[in-house]
């Protein structure tokens, strides 16, 4: 990851969403992007230049554009038509984004398009977030990583966030993943946790 005086940036053409620029570099704001927030809290997070990423819950392509600046290719899955329109515009300017209009709870629908990836990044507001991640494990090469952005409030508003967090970690480990790191994204995002796993 590239940082300038402690500010996380990525190298690429700017003007995707009105982001601030430092010279030729695009500032990656931790308050807008959970992946940037994770980097500020845990500097071991890295995106390799030759990595292939599967990005679930791509939304308007804000974070996707930064990820694409770092890696070789991003397969970006989004379900809702309105954000997908924005994602297509972003993908039009960045040739290493493959925008997939599909439902992350139904990976078999777009499985014929995908190759083995080094990182599965998931940021979906669904109650069964762990199950969705586990369903995408056939795409992750062994030794590859899963970064799951857990929106605890989307899982169950009645449970306290810590409980949801512990349950999710348990589910992932039961599916044969090794939890490498787990970080609450405070002060950048409330009730959100990042869980980094490795496929053994």
């Amino acid at each position: 990851m590239i940082s300038i005086d402690g500010t996380l940036v990525s190298e690429g053409a700017g003007g995707v969403y009105g982001e601030r620029m430092i010279g030729e570099y695009r500032v990656w704001d931790p308050y807008r992007s959970k992946l940037a927030a994770l980097w500020y809290l845990d500097r071991s997070v890295d995106l390799a230049g030759d990595a292939v990423v599967l990005y679930l819950g791509a939304a308007n392509g804000t974070t996707v554009s930064h990820v694409a600046d770092y890696v070789e290719a991003v397969y970006a899955v989004e379900f809702a038509p309105r954000p997908m329109q924005d994602l297509l515009v972003v993908a039009g300017r960045r040739k290493n984004i493959v925008p997939i209009y599909g439902d992350a709870t139904q990976p078999q629908r777009y499985a014929p398009l995908l190759e083995a990836v080094d990182l599965v990044y998931q940021d979906v507001a669904q109650p069964n977030q762990a199950a969705i991640a586990i369903r995408h494990m056939p795409f992750l090469r062994s030794g590859g990583r899963l970064i799951l952005m857990l929106k605890t409030r989307s899982v169950d508003v009645r449970k306290c966030p810590e409980e949801v967090f512990a349950d999710t970690c348990g589910e992932l480990e039961a599916a044969g993943l090794r939890v490498v790191a787990a970080v609450w994204l405070l002060p950048y995002h409330a009730d959100h946790a990042a869980i980094v796993c490795e496929r053994v």
Binding site: A73, M84, Y101, Y110, A111, P112, E115
Partner: protein, 289 residues
Amino acid sequence: MYWYGAGTDLSTDPAEVAARLRAAKTDMTTYVPCDWRQAQQLGLVRDRQEYLEAVRQATICMAEEGIAAAAQEKDVELLQMVRTLDEMDTVINLLTERLVDWYISITPSFSRKYRGSGAGAARLLPMIGKKGTEPMKKVAKEILSMSAARTSLMKEVSRKAVVVIPNMSALVGGLVAARLMARAGGLAALARMPGSSMQVIGAEGALFSHIRTGTPSPKHGIVFQHRRVHNAPREVRGAVARALAAKLAIAARLDYFRGELDAAFVDAANARIDGLMGTKMRTETGVRK
């Protein structure tokens, strides 16, 4: 089977890829991801760059088709119309309140007290339009013209709702039916909703405070705007809201899956709801006697 095909059926043409994906039945238990080198060996692409570009063109093409299909759904425009209508209400009320405060502040003798039953800010608009200062008059005129636009939009929403969601509109009127749909996020979402959820759409604050802290559960959300709910005697209002919501859930499914008015269903549902109110009223008069 992969996106570029197998056997003799090999191509990277976006339309053919789309057809292949629609037909594909991938078993995730035996699934092995694509290897771009296989596509290279098959002579479909020369290098990695070309592979990515080909898969990209295919997915972009499919996404554009998918978005176009989603925009064709008949409830999409109605949803935006209802949201626009509700936001216009907010804007008109805010501006009117502010304008009245402005007028009062430079007219010391004016008070909103004792001005008949309805001294609502909206009723003061025409007066401000006549007696206010020049800038005030201009703003008042704008608000009045926005109110006119709001009224015509409201009529348009009701008219369109009768076409898009005929059964729900027949039960609670086009406007309330359209508001329910907008809150649920579309007709597809509404058709999958149980009646008990539909009953409290629009009362999310009360519902979650009930779930979290055990305050009394809400009896009604948006359905309260329907006359048979808010005119019902207090004791049966919850029952009417519940019966109405249950019928609305059926109506939403009829609207989504069949799309045309089912007069027999509507009549039976209306009779059931009116019956609920009738029994209560009859016993009430009995008590009074």
